[in-house]
């Protein structure tokens, strides 16, 4: 009896104690409207045309009606706090989410006007056109040569050994790795340094001559010097490929990209020229994020 009455008193008293000073509105509390993106999300004759894309993991919705165009041969950076859906969105572009059982993708995703998620679509061909580099360097436990030759062999890109050699050499050259490894192409790739491994993964990806290269935080496992080399490489690659890069580092986005897209809790908040995003962001959430108020 006693305990009951005392609880009741506590419950009654609680609201009176909770008098708090009125604070300014926190940026996290901003209510975002679905499917609304400020800035310049659309482009003429885009490589990727993405409309009202939604991604579900089981019951929960990770991506909420995002529409975006990715232009040919641009470098676009996806930034945003952890868990905002930028990697999930990236993995929709070459259907890497397919291997996750509970993941469903809705909306229109077109690559050169063709539906990416058409059930009749050949995923092998799609991934040959849209390559991907992962967060952690993941060279196969094979020789350096075999790593780069892996894709060309699968797709039958070389008819002779000499052609394959040429592809391997030019890919390693493009990845800025040739001079470092030309004398030890038979060495295990897993014995290289982290930065070399990541550049090898990039060489491996461009060996199949993709049109688009997706990069999921490619430098997050690398030291600053290796990062600088990879960023240099991205700048060079941007001449021949469309590059979509997810990054946690705003400096990196500023250094390598033409356009920057800011993601927040599954929404695409703002897309603009990179220089504009980092100097005069249009949306208050973007502004708070790049000024380091949260994230």
């Amino acid at each position: 009896m006693n305990t009951m009455s005392s609880t009741t008193i506590n419950q009654v008293q609680a609201p009176e104690e909770k008098v708090m000073p009125v604070t300014e509105k926190k940026p996290e509390d901003t209510v975002l409207e679905e499917g609304v993106t400020v800035g310049t999300p659309f482009a003429d004759d885009p490589k990727f045309k993405l409309r009202d894309v939604e991604v579900f993991y089981g019951e929960s919705r990770a991506i909420k009606k995002i529409s975006l165009d990715i232009a040919r041969n641009e470098v676009i950076a996806f930034i945003g706090p952890s868990g905002c859906g930028k990697s999930t969105f990236l993995r929709c572009l070459n259907r890497m989410n397919d291997s996750i059982d509970i993941c469903r993708v809705k909306g229109g995703l077109l690559l050169d006007g063709q539906d990416i998620y058409d059930p009749k679509r050949d995923v092998v061909e799609l991934r040959a056109r849209v390559g991907m580099v992962f967060q952690k360097p993941n060279p196969f436990p094979k020789s350096i040569y075999d790593n780069v030759a892996y894709g060309p062999r699968i797709h039958g890109l070389a008819n002779r050994k000499s052609e394959l050699d040429d592809i391997v050499e030019s890919s390693l050259r493009k990845a800025g790795l040739w001079n470092e490894v030309k004398d030890r192409l038979d060495a295990m790739a897993t014995g290289m340094s982290g930065g070399q491994q990541q550049r090898l993964c990039i060489a491996r990806t461009i060996a199949v001559s993709p049109e688009v290269v997706l990069m999921d935080e490619p430098c997050s496992a690398l030291d600053p010097i290796a990062t600088a080399k990879v960023e240099e490489l991205i700048a060079e690659l941007s001449e021949s490929f469309t590059i979509v890069i997810v990054t946690h580092s705003m400096q990196q986005a500023a250094r390598v990209s033409n356009r920057t897209a800011y993601f927040h809790l599954g929404h695409l908040v703002e897309v603009n020229e990179t220089s504009k995003v980092f100097t005069t962001p249009e949306h208050e959430l973007t502004e708070s994020y790049i000024s380091g108020r949260f994230g």
Binding site: M96, V124, E125, M132, N138, P141, K142, I154
Partner: protein, 462 residues
């Protein structure tokens, strides 16, 4: 008191010591302001007191129980008159069992010689005395050591470290049991094998092509010469194991690939336990399945296509054994395939490789060492399997590579050599040890070879 009761009593004392130690450490801690002023938690002081109380007492108990019989026996034999002192081990044990029978009342004293009856009385008296001494000593040591352990509990005493040290030795001893047992088995096999080779020439055993381990009871008996050539047995073993692996390796590996790469979670959660159940079926059941269903089926099938086949065949045993060891291959391979990092799969898929290409070119090489391990385990299981072979392949030691004929294996012969009444110094029984030693060496070599292969071809991932 009987040793078992004494063991229980010591344990009870140890538990009491735990409680007292716990209570004393708390009592010491309270005036200081709580348990945190002790070097260790009260539980550690309790365990320490229990160790002090129990361990020395149990060691004494074990030693006493181990040597009691020998000591009493030597005293009893010492009192016998010069003429009755036994001069061989066999006689000594006969005499002792006679004395023992008189002592426990199953043989009336009037039926035996005077000194034996006396010795029996002495034996009985000594046994009673020994029990009393043992009980007294063990209880005294437990109480004394327990008291010492208890009284020396102080807040600054680091009981935790002492308990950890004792536990360390305890775990070491447990690990030592397995190692020592293996060493013991190896030595006993080696010594018996040496004795075997004193009776049977080396070359005959290793290169003889006929196996009939019969020894003549009379010198003029027909077929008095036994033959101890191990070649037919080893070819039989290899033949059956080979057939079994021919079934188990591909089926097991492919089902592992299906389960780990293709099956969804639900299918996997149902199929995997079902598959593993195959390993839980007793081999006797497999044996009569092989003997009553598979073997007749094979012989019918063979005669239908005009090939001669005996009713028991290596093929029947091998097929059923293959089914039995599928789970060894599949379960282990499934585990190692799952252990290959997802990032390697992603890397391959992102380059446009299909699932099967990824499997073949990336996952399989990376998982190879583990898969080899699984296959090896399956092979050693196949070599060691006895029951299925006895029932389905027969006992005749034929030197043949024809799987439709009846063959026998090393393990089966070991069983038949040792079943029934045997003397343990004839070449026939000693042959079992020699075969066992060969089997041991064979599996050892297999392991070494597999390790070499694994080292050479492994693709390390990190």
């Amino acid at each position: 008191m009987q040793p078992l009761n004494l063991l229980l009593l010591t344990m009870v004392l140890a538990v009491v010591a735990y409680g007292l130690g716990y209570a004393r450490s708390r009592a010491l801690a309270m005036p200081l302001g709580g348990v945190r002023h002790l070097k260790s938690l009260p539980g550690y002081y309790g365990v320490r007191a229990a160790i002090w109380c129990g361990v020395p007492a149990l060691i004494i108990l074990a030693l006493w129980a181990a040597f009691e019989g020998k000591v009493i026996q030597s005293i009893v034999v010492g009192t016998l008159p010069e003429t009755m002192i036994p001069d061989s081990a066999g006689e000594a044990s006969l005499l002792m069992s006679k004395i023992g029978n008189v002592a426990n009342g199953s043989l009336p004293p009037g039926f035996v010689e005077e000194p034996v009856a006396k010795a029996a009385e002495l034996l009985q008296a000594l046994q009673v005395q020994s029990k009393i001494y043992m009980t007294g000593l063990v209880v005294a040591v437990a109480l004394l050591a327990g008291f010492l352990g208890w009284i020396r509990i102080r807040p600054l005493l680091n009981a935790r470290e002492q308990v950890e040290a004792v536990l360390r030795w305890f775990f070491f001893a447990c690990a030592g049991v397995a190692v020592l047992t293996t060493v013991g088995i190896v030595f006993s096999v080696v010594f018996e094998t040496i004795r075997f080779f004193e009776q049977v020439p080396f070359l005959e055993f290793f290169f003889g092509t006929s196996w009939s381990p019969q020894l003549a009871l009379r010198t003029d008996q027909v077929g008095s010469e036994g033959a101890f050539g191990m070649i037919p047995l080893f070819t039989g073993t290899l033949l059956i194991s080979f057939i079994a692996m021919l079934i188990a390796a591909p089926v097991g590996l492919m089902s592992a690939i299906y389960l780990s790469e293709y099956a969804n979670k639900r299918v996997r959660s149902i199929v995997k336990p079902l598959l593993e159940m195959l390993a839980g079926i007793p081999t006797v059941v497999y044996g009569f399945f092989a003997a009553l269903t598979v073997a007749p089926f094979i012989s019918d099938l063979a005669s239908a296509i005009g090939v001669e086949a005996s009713s028991q065949s290596a093929l029947a045993a091998g097929l059923v054994m293959g089914i039995m060891i599928i789970p060894f291959v599949s379960s282990l391979s499934d585990d190692v395939i799952n252990a290959v990092p997802q990032s390697l799969r992603d890397g391959s898929l992102a380059l446009g490789a299909t699932q099967s290409e990824t499997m073949k070119k990336v996952i399989f090489p990376a998982a190879l060492p583990g898969i080899m391990g699984g296959l090896l385990l399956a092979v050693s299981r196949a070599i060691g399997e006895t029951m299925i072979v006895v029932m389905a392949a027969g006992l005749a030691a034929n030197l043949t590579a024809n799987p439709l004929e009846t063959v026998t294996t090393v393990t089966v012969q070991i069983v038949t050599l040792l079943v029934g009444d045997q003397e343990f110094d004839s070449a026939k029984t000693l042959a079992a040890f020699a075969l066992g030693a060969m089997l041991f060496i064979a599996t050892l070599l297999l392991n070494v070879i597999a390790l070499k292969i694994v080292r050479k071809y492994r693709e390390q991932y990190d």
